[in-house]
């Protein structure tokens, strides 16, 4: 039985460390290879020993696909390819390919230089790893090998984010990665055609949220920032270096310009400048507005936003600072947060999702006293605001995407179990498809019934077409031919051609059947009755009474004889060739029911 097997190594009922193994028609594909923000030990990377205990992974995986450059989707890549060992192709879109190494390098620096971790991947490893990458453009179909092909669709979310369709023969899986169904200031909305995959693996971060109109959100955000700045307070916005950061920058930049505000806006890390460069380059991946206006002015050339220096944090007066990372779990954003937390004039705006265990999650859930390293207790007096700016699809968006793609099965990853449960129930209820939500390491097996393409010879097809009117979708039609299976492909040809090709002689196969009829009359009369009966029922067929006392229906022969023992019973001999099997068996069953009583 052909089947598709899916095993999440990460992101199963969890957010972070996305890594999903898919086996489809004998091909193994790994989708994403991320790290987990909430852990600092071995748990931060997926457990690749699940694939194999020893030896390199190349033999077990046909390809690796990275959906976008966020670290929870690509953070474990150098570890996986260089330290564990994988030499096969890694597929990603060009913007991801450009930006991914910057983020990996930054991640490495924080881990090794700041935290002093040993046994971490090196810069060289990142470079080596990136050499294995193959770029995939939007809507480009890439043949990984003879059978396996992948195709990328636009996903919104961040620059270069893509959804991937993985297809082997007629079986296919769509992996969404992270996506956004509502367009924003710099990216468009995710879109997929009605590809009807066997399985859709979708993220479900906001499985239980239906979001407000984005315009309200934007206005709220600007208002909050504006008010704090007017009060003389400082605003901290922890963001991931890339993605939402650019979105919010565009938003603040245009607002500052319009309102003619003077308070400085800083952006914390140098890496953003590098990445911004790529944003300016990959204009085709942005939304309509930026694509249309970049000739006059590239929206990513900010006028009001300057680079941040650590010393600026102590400057008096209002300012707005974007700092990484986005969940306040480490780095500069956490440092600034500690500095500013004590003043109630200040504000921290969390623009996105926070994984459990991070400082961000704690303050959002209302904790006002935080235990920091070294048993310090930090009292949070500053205002804490949450505003869902993360570019994930909300529940309605997820449903919309499922509606667009029309999959046979849905599998949820990248979300919290409790929320997934709710969405699962909704999906099953509204689309009447099966929905799965495996935990990490749990395997879901889906039976598939792949269709097998059969080639039909043109002569046969034309002959069939000539016989009747147009094929009608509602009525099945019988077509006779010979199926030849040769070199793992199938052909349907006419029987004559098959005989010729295979060099066989033709054999006639004839079925005969005796039907006993209780009829005391003479044979001729019985035959006449049979004839008139059949004539009345089979109006579409040619029924003939031959002079030799037999009846033919098309090529089926019916003869009557008296029973040797019982003269009151007549025996009808029905004989038909194999080709007329359908009509023949129908006729016998008809005759077996007996003749209608003569009116006399």
């Amino acid at each position: 039985m052909p089947e598709i097997r899916v095993t999440p190594l990460g992101a199963g009922q969890d957010v972070g460390r996305s890594c999903i193994l898919v086996s489809i028609a004998g091909k193994n594909v790994m989708l994403d290879c991320g790290m987990h923000m909430g852990f600092n030990d071995d748990r931060r990377f997926p457990d690749f020993s699940y694939i194999t205990q020893n030896g390199r992974l190349t033999d077990f995986l046909d390809c690796v696909i990275i959906s976008h450059f966020h670290l929870d989707h690509c953070g474990a890549l150098p570890y996986f390819s260089e330290m564990v060992g994988y030499d096969g192709p890694i597929y990603m879109t060009p913007p991801t390919q450009a930006i991914c190494p910057i983020l990996l390098e930054d991640y490495r620096k924080i881990a090794v230089d700041k935290k002093g971790e040993a046994n971490f991947f090196t810069s060289q490893m990142i470079k080596d790893c990136m050499k294995k990458v193959v770029a995939v453009h939007l809507h480009q179909t890439v043949q990984v090998d003879d059978e396996l092909e992948i195709k990328a669709y636009y996903a919104g979310h961040v620059l270069g984010a893509a959804m991937f369709q993985i297809k082997v023969g007629s079986e296919s899986v769509v992996y969404t990665g992270d996506y956004n169904m509502t367009p924003d200031r710099h990216l468009g909305a995710a879109w997929i055609d009605r590809c009807r995959p066997n399985l859709l693996i979708t993220e479900s971060t906001y499985a239980t949220t239906i979001r407000d109109s984005k315009r309200c959100r934007e206005r709220d955000f600007l208002k909050k920032v504006h008010e704090t700045v007017e009060r003389g307070g400082k605003v901290l916005i922890p963001v991931f270096a890339l993605g939402r950061a650019q979105e919010l920058c565009i938003l603040l930049e245009t607002f500052w310009e319009r309102m003619n505000l003077k308070a400085p806006i800083y952006f914390s890390t140098g890496l953003t400048e590098k990445a911004n460069h790529y944003y300016k380059l990959f204009i085709t991946w942005t939304n309509q507005k930026i694509r249309k206006t970049f000739v006059q002015r590239n929206m990513f050339e900010f006028k009001h936003i300057k680079a941040f220096d650590r010393a600026f944090a102590d400057n008096p007066g209002p300012m707005v600072v974007f700092a990484t990372p986005g969940m306040l779990h480490a780095g500069q954003s956490l440092q600034i947060f500690r500095k500013w937390a004590g003043n109630e004039k200040n504000m921290v705006i969390m623009p996105g999702y926070c994984v459990q265990g991070t400082v961000g999650h704690k303050i959002l859930s209302g904790q006002r006293k935080l235990e920091m390293e070294g048993r310090q207790v930090l009292e949070v007096k500053m205002q804490v605001e949450y505003m869902s700016f993360s570019a994930h699809a909300d529940a309605k968006g997820i449903m919309q995407l499922i509606g667009q793609a029309e999959p046979e099965h849905v599998l949820l990853v990248h979300g919290e179990a409790k929320k997934m449960e709710f969405l699962k129930q909704k999906i099953e209820q509204e689309f009447r498809v099966n929905c799965y939500m495996p935990a990490n390491g749990e395997t879901v097996t889906l039976p598939t019934s792949p269709s097998i393409p059969v080639g039909i010879s043109l002569g046969l097809l034309k002959r069939e077409m000539a016989q009747g009117l147009l094929p009608d979708a509602k009525k099945p039609r019988l077509l006779q031919g010979t199926l030849i299976m040769k070199d793992s492909n199938f052909r349907l040809v006419s029987s004559e051609q098959a005989l010729k090709e295979l060099g066989l002689a033709e054999h006639q196969l004839r079925f005969t059947c005796r039907v006993h009829l209780h009829d005391a009359r003479k044979e001729q009369e019985t035959v006449m009755r049979v004839y008139s009966h059949l004539k009345s029922i089979l109006k579409d067929h040619c029924v003939q009474h031959l002079p030799d006392g037999s009846v033919t229906v098309e090529s089926i022969l019916i003869q009557a004889a008296a029973h040797s023992e019982d003269p009151g019973t007549k025996v009808l001999l029905v004989s038909w060739t194999y080709q007329d099997e359908e009509l023949g068996s129908y006729l016998t069953s008809l005759l077996k029911k007996g003749l209608p009583q003569a009116p006399s």
């Binding site: 997929i192 949220t209 407000d212 109109s213 319009r258 003619n260 449903m399």
Partner: protein, 816 residues
């Protein structure tokens, strides 16, 4: 018909999609509801066309499916009533794989919903039933979140015209049922409203009231509502601006028909003012203006609206000024805010001056009671101290005064708050900016101008009557002595011109009639010249007057024909008749003053051709022209054709004298085209310097009134001091249409010249181009073949219709 039909039937089953496609198109264009010939051998004929087309809704080829739906729409357009059964078929097509099929299906559903709005359809999977129009509305709303933007645009557009939909379905479109972690959340709009109504809005501390409220039943949450939920929320934040514009338009149309919906969609429209694409912003501002009668802006909404005043696009700002003209503001803070923002706008973009003043005029007259408490602050008066007198030429100060004076018109207590200099400024502004400053009843002063004061405003009837009477008087006095007729005409023309100045609504009619009378007067005068009594060769000089009169009449008739909108055919006849007379006059004068017969031959022939042409064009109107010049002329036509030129001239001369004065019927609605050049103002003493041989761009801003099709008719003329004239055709995109009958031309004119020694003035004016072919009604037999008379009579020309503006320029010699 029958063989055609059967032929089509045969080809409908063709294997090629192209053939089926075309067959369906044919069916759509030719098919009729009647059963086509029952004796048809095909056996298909008993089914009617709709059934046949309907069968192809499930064709295997998407192009054929589209063609089938299009054919159905075509049937509808041809006036056949579609059957209701099509609705269900069309609904199935909404989930088709191909966008063109879905797009066409949406249209079909819309058509059916307009045909059978009140039919009841069952809701699948429940035993409830709803009206068909509601069901269709829900389905089309669902298509607003379709995968293809073509379909989305289509759906959003059609939503606007579904006015019969029930109000609760309509209101659902703005509601997206928010949910946060399974708890209901109120939308930010709802929160804003609550904060506002509880008076906590200004504190700004409780913004983050995002906290989810009641726990909702997980079973009850339906994530994809089949209904209309949030259709506009989706449409307005769509990725493609085409969809957003369509959604805004639809909102506008629905809001115009439902005041309660207008109130609800306000928040969304205001949000659209911050859209990233200018066209969308502009569209939403226009929309808001259209529905502004139904709404009152809250302060927070006003805030957002006013923020757009800083937009760098002139179109947006002016659209917003127009919007503010007709907006209702609820509080005095709102008025103050609006004023402050407008003044800020004024300093940032001084060119907006006129637009802002006009805006404040309406703002003031709409909200007198709200302005009243602000007056002391605005005029910065102090109870004890005299404050410094503000600068009278400051546009910002004038703006404030415009607001206050217009509010004071209906608020008699206000002038008591004015200080002395305010009164003086009032008198000044009343004179200099009379269109912005109304007449006020000021304590201790007499009314400034009683005639124009609103209370003593003469009613429309007397002046209308006056107009009628004076015209009748003229028409009745046909056979008076020439002297008396001339005087009467002169007086009437003067009266009419004055009336036109006083009564703007009668200006068109009065001017039109006056021009006509003027022509008549000129004709009479010309015919009374002594010249006619004397032998020809002696009076070369005298003929100047007559030929000048002929020329002027021609010019005036072109003005009458092309400068007025609303001129009907019966007036055109009279105008052409007058022109014919002028031509006759010209011919006579030429005959008198030239020697030799040769040139006359040509002229006579041409004149006769024109008479002929006149007859052909206006054959239907000839009975109305009893006793007129042309009537008599046509009687004598056979004779004229054969006579010598000298004889023709003689006949014409007697006929001109004998012809009666034709009564000009007054058209219902007539307006004179006019144009005012706002910019350049022509006041500058600083010449515009540029290097000779290069170009300088001159910004031209003009308002045009009652000009039909300005894109093709309005031209700009630049006259250089050396007599060189330059004609400029503005681009069609330079014309904006702010209101019915009004246009605005904002364009740039490129000037260039060789070097001058002194700065000098060039004249800029607007011209109205005309083409006499365009107006003349074509009789069917003129179109066939005979081209020559048409070519001759197609006269193209231009009429200046604005005051010329002088621009001081100085081309400098290029430096070497």
């Amino acid at each position: 018909m029958t063989p055609l039909t059967s032929c089509r039937m045969k080809h409908l089953t063709d294997t090629s999609h192209g053939v089926r496609n075309k067959c369906l198109q044919l069916l759509g264009n030719l098919g009729s509801l009647e059963k086509s010939g029952t004796k048809d051998t095909e056996g298909l004929a008993t089914r009617d066309v709709q059934k046949i087309i309907g069968d192809y809704f499930s064709d295997q080829d998407p192009r054929v499916r589209t063609a089938a739906i299009k054919a159905m729409l075509q049937l509808h357009e041809r006036g056949l009533k579609l059957q209701q059964t099509i609705y269900n078929q069309a609904c199935k097509l909404l989930s088709d794989d191909y966008e063109q099929v879905r797009s066409a299906a949406v249209q079909l559903i819309w058509v059916v919903s307009q045909l059978y709005p009140e039919s009841i359809v069952p809701i699948p999977s429940s035993n409830e039933e709803i009206r068909l129009v509601d069901d269709a509305f829900g389905k089309i709303c669902h298509m607003v979140s379709d995968g293809s933007w073509v379909v989305r645009v289509q759906a959003a557009k059609l939503l606007g015209s579904m006015e019969q939909v029930s109000s609760h379905f309509l209101e659902q479109t703005l509601d997206k049922k928010l949910m946060s972690d399974l708890r209901r959340k109120r939308t930010a709009h709802e929160r804003a409203k609550e904060l506002y109504s509880s008076g906590e809005f200004s504190s700004g501390r409780k913004w983050g009231d995002d906290a989810p409220k009641e726990e909702i039943d997980t079973g009850a949450v339906n994530l994809i509502e089949s209904g209309a939920c949030g259709a506009f929320v989706h449409g307005l934040e769509d990725e493609m601006y085409e969809v957003r514009i369509a959604a805004v338009e639809a909102l506008c149309m629905l809001a115009q028909s439902s005041p309660s919906f207008a109130e609800k969609c306000l928040d969304f429209l205001v949000d659209m003012f911050n859209d990233e694409i200018e066209e969308v912003r502009l569209q939403s501002i226009h929309t808001m203006r259209k529905i502004s009668n139904n709404i009152t802006l809250r302060e927070d909404q006003l805030d957002t609206v006013l923020a757009v005043l800083e937009d760098s696009s002139r179109d947006i700002r002016e659209a917003l000024h127009e919007l503010l003209c007709c907006t209702n503001v609820s509080t005095k803070e709102g008025i103050h805010l609006a004023l402050v923002e407008l003044l800020k706008n004024l300093t940032k973009y001084p060119t907006d001056r006129d637009s802002i003043w006009k805006c404040l005029k309406f703002l003031g007259s709409r909200h007198p009671t709200l302005v009243l408490p602000l007056v002391p602050e605005l005029l910065s008066t102090h109870p004890f101290f005299d404050t410094a007198e503000p600068d009278m030429d400051d546009p910002a100060y004038i703006a404030v005064l415009v607001l206050i004076f217009n509010a004071a018109k209906t608020c008699p207590t206000m002038p008591a708050l004015f200080s002395d200099h305010t009164f003086r400024h009032y008198a000044y502004l009343r004179d200099s900016l009379s269109h912005l400053v109304p007449a006020l009843r000021l304590p201790g002063r007499k009314l400034v101008s009683s005639a124009v004061s609103p209370n003593i405003m003469p009613h429309e009837d007397p002046s209308q009557q006056f107009l009628q009477q004076s015209l009748e008087r003229v028409y009745s006095l046909q056979h008076l002595d020439p002297q008396g007729t001339q005087e009467l005409l002169e007086f009437t023309i003067r009266d009419l011109q004055r009336l036109g100045e006083l009564q703007s609504e009668l200006a068109g009619v009065a001017d039109f009639s006056a021009t006509y009378l003027q022509c008549q007067l000129l004709l009479i005068k010309a015919l009374q010249e002594k010249l006619w009594n004397v032998a020809a060769p002696l009076y070369l000089k005298q003929s100047d007057l007559a030929s000048a009169a002929a020329k002027q009449i021609m010019e005036e008739t072109y003005k009458m024909e092309f400068m007025y909108s609303g001129v009907e055919n019966k007036q055109v006849v009279i105008i052409h008749h007058m022109r014919l007379q002028a031509k006759a006059l010209q011919l006579i004068v030429t005959a008198r003053t030239t020697r030799g017969v040769d040139p006359l031959f040509g002229m006579c022939e041409k004149f006769l051709q024109e008479v002929d042409f006149f007859q052909r064009c206006f054959i239907a109107d000839l009975p109305h022209l009893q006793d007129s010049f042309v009537d008599k002329l046509l009687d004598l036509m056979p004779r004229l054709m054969t006579s010598k030129p000298a004889e023709v001239v003689k006949i014409l001369q007697t006929m001109l004298r004998q012809s009666t004065f034709l009564h000009l019927p007054l058209p219902e609605q007539i307006h004179k085209a006019s144009a005012t050049i706002i910019e350049p103002a022509g006041e500058s003493d600083n010449p515009l310097r540029f290097t000779s041989g290069l170009v300088v761009a001159l910004d031209v801003d003009a308002t045009l009134e009652h000009v039909q099709d300005p894109q093709s008719t309005v031209k700009i003329q630049v006259l250089y001091p050396d007599g060189q004239a330059q004609m400029i055709h503005p681009k069609p995109a330079d014309f904006r249409n702010p209101g019915p009958g009004r246009h605005r031309l904002i364009t740039q004119v490129y000037l260039s010249h060789t070097a001058w020694t002194e700065p000098c003035q060039v004249e800029v004016r607007l011209l109205l181009a005309y083409n006499s072919n365009a107006r003349i009604p074509k009789s069917p037999w003129i179109e066939g073949g005979e081209v020559s008379p048409q070519v001759e009579t197609s006269i193209e020309g231009t009429i200046p219709f604005s005051k010329p503006v002088k621009v001081y320029i100085m081309p400098k010699p290029a430096r070497r």
